[in-house]
C-alpha cells in the first residue's frame, strides 16, 4: 500500500524529532523525581550513619557532661529531650483547642466573606517565617518576663495553629451533610450536633492533623533561639524556666569546634529525624485511611 499511494507509516524525520524531544522531556521529569528522592535518602543515610554511634542508654538518660579541666564534652541529651517535650506540650495545649475552635467556627458559623478572610489570614500566618514569630514572642513576652519553655511554647503554638485549623477544617468538611441534616431533623441543637456528632465522627482526622503539627513544631529551631536558649544542663520539667531542646542542641553543637559535640549533634539529629519522620508517615497513612472511610 505504501508503494502505490506514496503514503508510509514509517516515522518521518520530523516525527522522529518530536519523539526524541518527548523522550528527553520524560527523562528530565524522571530525573527530577529521582533527584528529590535521592536527597531524602542522602539526608537519612547520613544522619543514621553518623548518628547511630551516639545512641546509647546514657544518651537518652543523662544530661550533657562538661569537663572544664580537659575541655572534653559530650554525654547525653536528656535535658533536651525533656525540654522539647515540655515546650511542644505547651504549644499543643494552646494550639490544639484554639485551632479546632477556629475550624468549627469556619465550618458552622462563618459565611461568605468572613470565612474567606479567615482562611486567607490562616494561610498568611502559616507563611510567616518562624524566626519572625520568635522575635515577636521575644518582644511581647520575653522582654517583660524572661526566657522560658512556656514562651517557646507560645511561639510554636502560633506556628501550629494554622496547621491545626486548616487540617481540622478539611476533616470537618468531609463529614457527610446527611449526618448533619439527620441530626438537625431530629431536633438536635447545633452545639449538640457539633460536640456529640461532628467532632466524634472526625476525631481521628483531627488528631492526626494535630500530630502532624506537633511533628512540625518539634523540629523548629528558629522560634526557640530568642525564647528558650539561655539554658543549663540540668534535666528539668519546669515550663517557667528556659529549657534546652533537641533542635537547639544540634544548632549549638555545630557552632562548637569540638568533635565530640558534633557526634552529639548527629545523635540528636537521628533522634529528632526518627521522631518526625515516623510520626509524619504514620499520621499521613492514618489520615488517608480516615479520609477514605469518611468519604465513603
Amino acid at each position: 500500500m505504501s508503494d502505490r499511494s506514496g503514503f508510509s507509516l514509517a516515522p518521518t524525520r520530523q516525527l522522529r524529532r518530536r519523539k526524541l524531544i518527548n523522550l528527553f522531556a520524560e527523562i528530565v521529569m524522571l530525573t527530577a523525581a529521582l533527584a528529590a528522592i535521592a536527597v531524602l535518602v542522602a539526608v537519612i543515610v547520613a544522619v543514621v550513619q553518623r548518628g547511630h554511634g551516639a545512641l546509647t542508654k546514657d544518651f537518652f538518660t543523662k544530661p550533657p557532661s562538661t569537663n572544664f579541666l580537659t575541655g572534653a564534652s559530650g554525654g547525653g541529651i536528656a535535658n533536651s529531650i525533656a525540654g522539647t517535650i515540655v515546650i511542644v506540650a505547651c504549644a499543643t495545649v494552646i494550639a490544639l483547642p484554639i485551632g479546632i475552635l477556629v475550624a468549627v467556627y469556619t465550618s458552622e458559623f462563618a459565611h461568605g466573606w468572613v470565612r474567606r478572610v479567615l482562611a486567607f489570614v490562616l494561610d498568611v500566618v502559616n507563611g510567616i517565617p518562624s524566626i519572625v514569630i520568635g522575635i515577636f514572642i521575644f518582644g511581647i513576652y520575653v522582654l517583660s518576663h524572661q526566657q522560658s519553655a512556656f514562651a517557646a511554647g507560645l511561639a510554636l503554638s502560633i506556628i501550629m495553629l494554622p496547621l491545626v485549623a486548616r487540617s481540622t477544617q478539611e476533616v470537618l468538611a468531609l463529614v457527610p451533610t446527611t449526618l448533619r441534616e439527620a441530626s438537625f431533623a431530629m431536633g438536635v441543637s447545633r452545639w449538640r450536633t457539633v460536640v456529640g456528632l461532628i467532632i466524634p465522627a472526625s476525631f481521628g482526622g483531627i488528631l492526626t492533623g494535630g500530630t502532624l503539627a506537633i511533628a512540625r513544631a518539634a523540629g523548629e529551631t528558629a522560634p526557640l533561639l530568642f525564647t528558650s536558649s539561655l539554658t543549663t544542663n540540668e534535666v528539668s520539667w519546669n515550663p517557667h524556666v528556659a529549657l534546652q531542646s533537641i533542635p537547639l542542641t544540634i544548632f549549638q553543637d555545630l557552632e562548637a569546634p569540638d568533635p565530640a559535640l558534633h557526634e552529639q549533634a548527629w545523635g540528636a539529629a537521628l533522634v529528632l529525624l526518627t521522631f518526625v519522620l515516623v510520626v509524619s508517615v504514620l499520621s499521613k497513612a492514618w489520615l488517608a485511611r480516615n479520609r477514605r472511610k469518611l468519604s465513603r
Binding site: 518530536r18 524531544i21 518527548n22 520524560e26 528530565v28 521529569m29 524522571l30 530525573t31 527530577a32 523525581a33 528529590a36 528522592i37 536527597v39 531524602l40 547520613a46 544522619v47 484554639i98 475552635l101 477556629v102 467556627y105 469556619t106 462563618a110 474567606r116 486567607f120 489570614v121 494561610d123 498568611v124 500566618v125 507563611g127 510567616i128 517565617p129 518562624s130 524566626i131 519572625v132 514569630i133 522575635i135 518582644g139 502560633i158 494554622p162 441543637s189 447545633r190 452545639w191 449538640r192 457539633v194 460536640v195 518539634a218 523540629g219 528558629a222 533561639l225 536558649s229 539561655l230 533542635p247 544548632f251 555545630l254 558534633h262 529528632l272 518526625v276 519522620l277 508517615v281 499521613k284
Partner: protein, 323 residues
C-alpha cells in the same frame, strides 16, 4: 437562628431543653468566634509589635537602614542592605533550581509514573518537607559542604567559570550551599501545589491533544501548562516564601559574613540568617532594635510573596469553579 426561635410558639421557647439548646448554641458561637478573632488579633499584634520594638533604629537611621551596608555593633551602625541582597539573591537562585524541578516532579507524578508508584513517590517528596531545617543544615555543613568544595564547585568553576556567578574558589560554606539547601526545602511545597493543579486539568482536554497525535510532552506544553500557568506562578511563590524566611539551615551554611557578591562561591548572609546568628550576641538596645527591624523587613518580604501567592491561588480556584 434567633429569629426562627422567636417566631416559634412561646411555650416551646421556654422549656428547659429549648433554653439549654439556645444557650449552648450561643456559647459555642461566642467561643468559636473568639478563637477565630484571636487569630486575627495575633496576626495584627505581630506587625504592631515588630513596628514598636524597632522604633529605636527606625528613629536613629530612618530609611537609610534599608539602603546602608554598615552592620557594626561596636560603632552602633546598622544597615540591612547586605542581608536584603543575600535574601533576594539566594532565594532567586533557589527558585531557578527548584521551580522547574518541582514542576517536573509534579508532571512526572501526574502524567508519567506508573499508577501504583504515585502515592509512594509523592509521600517521599512530601517527607522532604518534614525534615527539620536544623537537620538539613547539619547535612549541608558536613556532607554537602565538602561535596561542593571538592566536586561540584570545581566542576562549575571549570565549565561556567567565565560567568560572574562561579568566579573564585569554591568553599565549604557560602551562597552555593545556601542555594542548594533552600532549593531542597522549597521543592516539596512547590511540587505538592503544582501536583494539585495538574490533577484539575480536564481529562478530555488531555486526551483530545493525545488523540490529535501530540506526544506526551507536546500535550504537557500545549494543554497542561497553559491551563495551570497562573497557579504554577503561585506554587513557585509559595516555595519562595519558605526560602525567604528560612533562618536556621541558611545560617549554618552561608558563612554569616557581610558582603554583596555575584559569585556563588562567596560567603554572605540573609535577613533571617543574621537574626538567628545574633541571638545571644545582641547586647545593646540599639542592636536588639536593629534585629527586630530586620525581622520587620523580612516579614514585609514574606507577606508580599505570600499574599500575592494566596491571591493568585484563590483567583485560580474561582476560575476553575466557574469553568
Amino acid at each position: 437562628m434567633s429569629t426562627s426561635a422567636a417566631s416559634a410558639p412561646r411555650r416551646f421557647a421556654f422549656t428547659p431543653r429549648r433554653l439549654r439548646d439556645r444557650v449552648g448554641d450561643g456559647i459555642l458561637h461566642v467561643v468559636t468566634a473568639a478563637a477565630a478573632l484571636s487569630v486575627l488579633v495575633v496576626s495584627g499584634l505581630i506587625v504592631y509589635e515588630l513596628v514598636k520594638d524597632s522604633k529605636l533604629t527606625r528613629d536613629a537611621f530612618g530609611f537609610s537602614f534599608i539602603t546602608s551596608r554598615a552592620w557594626d555593633p561596636v560603632k552602633g551602625q546598622f544597615g540591612a542592605l547586605d542581608f536584603i541582597y543575600g535574601t533576594i539573591y539566594t532565594s532567586l537562585w533557589a527558585v531557578l533550581i527548584a521551580g522547574p524541578a518541582a514542576i517536573a516532579i509534579a508532571l512526572f507524578l501526574t502524567e508519567l509514573a506508573p499508577r501504583w508508584t504515585r502515592t509512594v513517590i509523592a509521600t517521599l517528596v512530601d517527607l522532604l518537607a518534614a525534615i527539620p531545617s536544623v537537620v538539613i543544615g547539619l547535612w549541608g555543613i558536613f556532607i554537602l559542604g565538602p561535596v561542593i568544595q571538592d566536586h561540584l564547585g570545581p566542576f562549575l568553576s571549570r565549565w561556567f567559570g567565565w560567568t560572574p556567578f562561579f568566579k573564585g574558589t569554591p568553599q565549604l560554606e557560602g551562597y552555593l550551599a545556601a542555594v542548594i539547601v533552600l532549593a531542597v526545602m522549597m521543592l516539596p511545597i512547590t511540587a505538592a501545589v503544582a501536583r494539585e493543579l495538574f490533577v484539575t486539568v480536564p481529562r478530555d482536554l488531555k486526551e483530545g491533544a493525545l488523540a490529535l497525535g501530540a506526544t506526551r510532552w507536546e500535550m504537557i506544553r500545549g494543554v497542561i501548562i497553559p491551563q495551570t500557568r497562573g497557579g504554577l506562578v503561585a506554587a513557585v511563590m509559595l516555595g519562595l516564601g519558605r526560602a525567604i524566611g528560612e533562618a536556621i539551615a541558611v545560617t549554618q551554611v552561608i558563612g554569616d559574613t557581610l558582603g554583596i557578591h555575584l559569585s556563588l562561591f562567596e560567603h554572605g548572609d540573609t535577613l533571617a540568617s543574621r537574626i538567628a546568628a545574633q541571638y545571644q550576641g545582641a547586647s545593646s538596645n540599639l542592636q536588639k532594635s536593629a534585629l527586630v527591624e530586620l525581622a520587620l523587613v523580612l516579614l514585609v518580604f514574606s507577606l508580599i510573596t505570600n499574599i500575592l501567592a494566596q491571591v493568585i491561588v484563590r483567583r485560580f480556584e474561582r476560575q476553575l469553579g466557574k469553568s
